[in-house]
Each structure stands twice: as structure tokens, then as C-alpha cells.
């Protein structure tokens, strides 16, 4: 028996390398967990039928010495990332039967490293949501309490790792879609610097915001995956090089900034704030200096996000034309096909955001909303740059509350959007941010995880890993 609950990438690698068990045995152990749990949790939309064959290939690499640290490691992949020949649907009816015709760059890198793909995971349709309740197919439940959501939009990828049915997974993060479910499920989740990880072969949502990133149980594992998937890519012109940003040398302990003025609102649960203060105490004991900082425009960030993101969504989703790929529904003529297909193929939240984006971009409103949002985004970035002159990292809770009940927020879009209050800033500024487990809160007899979010300057993922490892004692 392999103890999956305490397994890490490094440990699995060492044990496969030493012959304690094979990649096939490891993959079989994870398949068994999927068989036992997925019916209830709905982490996966599809479990691949060639998992064992993939694991056999990984075992060959251990035999011939071409293995890497990720060879044979079972991964779950969010349904908006393309793996050639396999279905990628973004949990949408409009792509229900779409087969990817090429590999995303992150997938190619993972394939080269020899990982085993277990299956594709559930998500909010086109990554729009914070609970996976917007999936066209199923709702993913939180493995810590099945009456609650796993978070979103990458809820399936988080639940897959939290229920020990994959050792790691990939998600995408446009406004918090990796960090929020990581926090809800007790995992580490990383959104890297904008441009650090290629998005070639990933379905676009908000192109000035999207990043791909890992879920895992430890910061060390997250770092291993990040180092494998990062890098400049000729097929994604927004990718940056190692030299794009210069890192500041930090001689002693990094200085921790806390935007205290932003943490006092009604929206944040008292116990979450208490947990956050305990995290600050822990950092103090580890020798960090804590400093209050002011980010004058941070209160506007969610409103800015809900202008820019729908604007980009409405543009990106215009590609679904019922002609080249995806769903086709017949209307009375060619143009009507378009209306009928898009009306039937997109879910409620997708339709809502497309219309909202169309509104903020339409003539007469463009200046008041879209241009103004971009201007506020710019002064927000300046606020952060200025704050980072005094401190090295900025910490907040990842979410204002623990995982909420299924159905609790579905009728009120703004309540759902407020989930992203602490996470959207990193997408708007392009700065890297990580969510790490910061303890549990007992709610109605269930232990629900909470997360600490750490943000750093552009290009300083290594600092996030350093602080995260110290915090978790890795």
C-alpha cells in the first residue's frame, strides 16, 4: 500500500527510482481512489482509459535512465488545456465533443518530463465562476465537506489533489481561479507573473489576466512543477524571459507588508481575520518584520476586474461561430445558426458576462467603463510598485471566508464575485501570488481549510517559494 495522503513529488520520485514501486503501481493506486471517490466529488469530467499505458512508458524511462523528477507523477488537467487527441470542453456544451488538435505548451513540457495524465477536471464554464457550479455538466464538491463547493473556477483540479486522486494538477487563474480553490481545499496554488507560463493551447478567458499554474500539497512540489512549465514560448508572444524583470537582492529576512486598511470590511469573516493574525504571529516568530502598508486604490480592484475581464471575455468567446469547431445548431440561415448555437451552447454565466462585456465596450460607455477601468488598473499597479519599495512581500487572507455551501451564492452574481476580492489584484498587476494552507476552521463540525496569500514583485516567484517553505516548515 502506498500512503497517498502524505505523498509528495520528491518522495514518489525517490521511491519509484529506488524500485519500491513502479509508475504503474502508483497510477493504479490513484485510479482506485478515483473509482472510490469521483462519483461523489465530481473532480473529473473524464478519466483517461490509457493511464496504465502512460505509466508503462514512464517505467521504461526509469529503466533506461531518461527519467526526470516528474516522470510517472500522476497529474489531473483542467478541462480548458489542450491535450492532442483528447476532448477539451472548458465544461461547456459548446465544446462538449471537441477534440484538441495539438498539445498546449504546458502539456508538451509535462509530456517531455514523462508525467501520467489521469484525466480532465471539472471547472466553471470557460473558467467563469468561483465554485464550479457554472459547469455545464456537474458540480464539484469539496472533499473536506461535501455540502460545500471546492471553489473555482479550477475546482475540479483542486478537488482531484485534495481527495488523493492525483498527486498534482494544473489549473488556470484569471482572477483567483487557482488560489481560491487551493485555499478552500487545503492546497498550495500558484499564479505566476503574467507571461511566465505559456498560454499556447489554453482556452482564453481574459487575455491580459490569464495564467496557468499548479496545485499541489507542498510548496516544494509547486516549485518543481513551476520550473518545468515556465519559460518563453514562440507561440505565446506575451511570455517573458528570465531577464525581463530584475530581482532585488534580499540580504536578510524579507519584510512583510500588510494592507490592514483593506482587511477591516464587513465582507471578511471574523475567524478568517483571526487566522490571518495568527499567520502574522508565525511569520514574526520566524524572524520576519511586519509592516503596515497602504494601497490607496485597492478597494477599486474588484470593480476594475469586473469591467476588464468581461470585456476580454466577450472578445475571446466571439470565436465560437458554429462553423470551424464545436457545437452547431441549425437556425433559419447562416447568421441565425450563429445566434441559435451561441444561445444554446453558452451557459447562463457565460451569456451574462458576454453581454456585460459587450456593454462596457459599446459606443457611449467605452470611456466611462473600459478606458476608466484601464486607468484605475494603472494607478493600482503604481500603488503596488510604491509599496514594494518598502516591503518585499504583501500578505492577505486568500479568501474572505471558508468554502461556502453549494447553492449559497448562485442567485446573486455580485456575492459570488466578491469571492475574488483579495485575489484579483495579482491578475490586474501581473504580479506573482501564491496561496498556502494557513490552518483550519471548524464549521458545523467539519474542519475547513483557510489560506494565506503572498504576493511578490514581478518575476519573484522564488521569494514566494522561500517564504512559503519557511511558513510550512518544508
Amino acid at each position: 500500500m502506498i500512503d497517498l495522503s502524505t505523498l509528495t513529488i520528491k518522495k514518489a520520485h525517490d521511491e519509484m527510482k529506488s524500485g519500491k514501486y513502479s509508475a504503474v503501481m502508483l497510477a493504479s493506486a490513484y485510479l482506485k481512489e478515483i473509482e472510490n471517490k469521483n462519483k461523489e466529488i465530481n473532480a473529473y469530467l473524464e478519466v483517461y482509459n490509457d493511464v496504465i499505458e502512460q505509466a508503462k512508458e514512464a517505467d521504461k524511462r526509469f529503466e533506461n535512465g531518461t527519467d526526470t523528477i516528474l516522470t510517472g507523477i500522476p497529474f489531473a488537467i483542467k478541462d480548458n488545456i489542450l491535450i492532442k487527441g483528447r476532448i477539451a470542453s472548458s465544461a461547456s456544451k459548446i465544446l462538449e465533443n471537441y477534440h484538441a488538435t495539438y498539445d498546449a505548451t504546458v502539456i508538451k513540457k509535462l509530456k517531455d518530463a514523462g508525467v501520467v495524465f489521469m484525466g480532465r477536471t471539472n471547472m466553471d464554464e470557460f473558467a467563469m465562476g468561483g465554485s464550479t457550479e457554472n459547469s455545464a455538466f456537474v458540480i464539484t464538491k469539496n472533499p473536506h465537506d461535501i455540502s460545500r463547493v471546492a471553489g473555482g473556477s479550477s475546482g475540479g483540479s483542486a478537488a482531484a489533489v485534495a481527495m488523493d486522486s492525483a498527486l498534482a494538477s494544473l489549473g488556470s487563474d484569471t482572477g483567483g481561479s487557482i488560489r481560491q480553490p487551493a485555499s478552500f481545499c487545503g492546497l498550495v496554488g500558484l499564479k505566476s507573473t503574467y507571461g511566465r507560463v505559456s498560454r499556447y493551447g489554453v482556452m482564453s478567458m481574459g487575455s491580459s489576466l490569464d495564467q496557468i499554474g499548479p496545485f499541489s500539497k507542498t510548496v516544494t512540489d509547486t516549485e518543481i512543477i513551476y520550473n518545468t512549465i515556465k519559460g518563453q514560448d514562440i507561440n505565446d508572444s506575451t511570455t517573458i524571459s528570465e531577464k525581463t524583470y530584475t530581482s532585488k537582492e534580499i540580504k536578510n529576512k524579507p519584510v512583510v507588508g500588510v494592507p490592514r486598511h483593506f482587511l477591516g470590511g464587513d465582507g471578511i469573516k471574523k475567524e478568517v481575520l483571526e487566522n490571518f493574525n495568527q499567520s502574522l504571529e508565525k511569520l514574526k516568530k520566524l524572524g520576519y518584520e511586519i509592516m503596515d502598508i497602504t494601497l490607496p486604490n485597492i478597494a477599486q480592484s474588484l470593480a476594475v476586474y469586473y469591467v476588464i475581464m468581461p470585456a476580454e471575455v466577450s472578445s475571446n468567446l466571439s470565436r465560437f461561430d458554429s462553423v470551424r469547431f464545436g457545437l452547431h445548431k441549425d437556425g433559419k440561415d447562416g447568421i441565425d445558426d450563429y445566434f441559435v448555437t451561441r444561445g444554446a451552447g453558452f451557459g447562463k454565466e457565460a451569456r451574462r458576462r458576454i453581454l456585460l462585456g459587450t456593454y462596457v465596450l459599446s459606443s457611449g460607455y467605452y470611456d466611462a467603463y473600459y478606458n476608466r477601468a484601464n486607468a484605475v488598473r494603472r494607478i493600482l499597479i503604481e500603488d503596488f510598485v510604491k509599496a514594494f519599495e518598502k516591503v518585499d512581500i504583501i500578505v492577505t487572507p486568500t479568501t474572505p471566508d471558508t468554502a461556502f455551501k453549494i447553492g449559497e451564492k448562485t442567485s446573486d452574481p455580485v456575492a459570488m464575485y466578491l469571492e475574488d476580492i483579495f485575489t484579483v489584484t495579482a491578475n490586474l498587476t501581473g504580479m506573482p501570488a501564491i496561496s498556502i494552507p494557513s490552518g483550519n476552521l471548524n464549521v458545523e463540525g467539519k474542519e475547513l481549510p483557510l489560506g494565506l496569500q503572498i504576493t511578490a514583485r514581478h518575476g519573484e516567484e522564488d521569494l514566494l517559494f522561500r517564504v512559503g517553505k519557511e511558513f510550512l516548515g518544508e
Binding site: 476594475v304 462553423v323 444554446a344
Partner: protein, 100 residues
């Protein structure tokens, strides 16, 4: 207050058919979202919109034709809802023959 007519106009621009009851519920939902995002109007914004020449900039590459294997071409064409030979098929879009 956003009206049903405005929702219809947006749906037309976005090429999405909406059911009548959804048009009504969308007026309320879009209104509540717009009320929330209206706070961006409170921020003091005196910056101009000229892009800052920063770390992230456009990267160009030469447009070099690459050969696609026939299997790849088949796979791509097979994703189209309707195909005829090596073409993607759509409904006739010309109403009548035009005398030239």
C-alpha cells in the same frame, strides 16, 4: 436602469439568442453588477492612457509557413460541424444569382 430593449441590443451585438424570461432577469443582474462597478468612477484618475514602455511589450516573429501533416489537417477539418472534401461547409449566404 437597463431596459429589456437594451439587453436585446446587446444580445444582437453579441450574436446570442436569449429567451424572453432571461432578458427580464438579465436586466436586474446586469443592473446590480453595474451598480457595483460604478465605484470605479469615484477613483481619482488623472493619468493619461498612453501605454508605458514597460517590461512587457509586443514580440514579433517572422511569418514563416510551416507544413502541416495531412493527419493534422484531417483532424482539424474533422472538428468542423460540416465539411465537404477539404472545405468547411456553411449554408448558402447569397440570396440570388447576381447578373454581372
Amino acid at each position: 436602469m437597463i431596459t429589456v430593449q437594451e439587453i436585446e441590443k446587446l444580445a444582437n451585438l453579441a450574436r446570442i439568442r436569449l429567451e424572453e424570461d432571461e432578458k427580464v432577469s438579465l436586466t436586474k443582474e446586469i443592473d446590480s453588477i453595474l451598480t457595483y462597478i460604478d465605484q470605479i468612477k469615484k477613483a481619482t484618475v488623472d493619468v493619461d492612457f498612453t501605454p508605458i514602455p514597460g517590461a512587457v511589450h509586443n514580440i514579433f516573429r517572422d511569418d514563416i509557413p510551416t507544413s502541416t501533416s495531412s493527419t493534422d489537417r484531417e483532424n482539424i477539418l474533422n472538428e468542423a460541424p460540416y465539411r465537404e472534401g477539404d472545405f468547411v461547409a456553411v449554408k448558402k449566404i447569397i440570396e440570388q444569382d447576381v447578373d454581372l
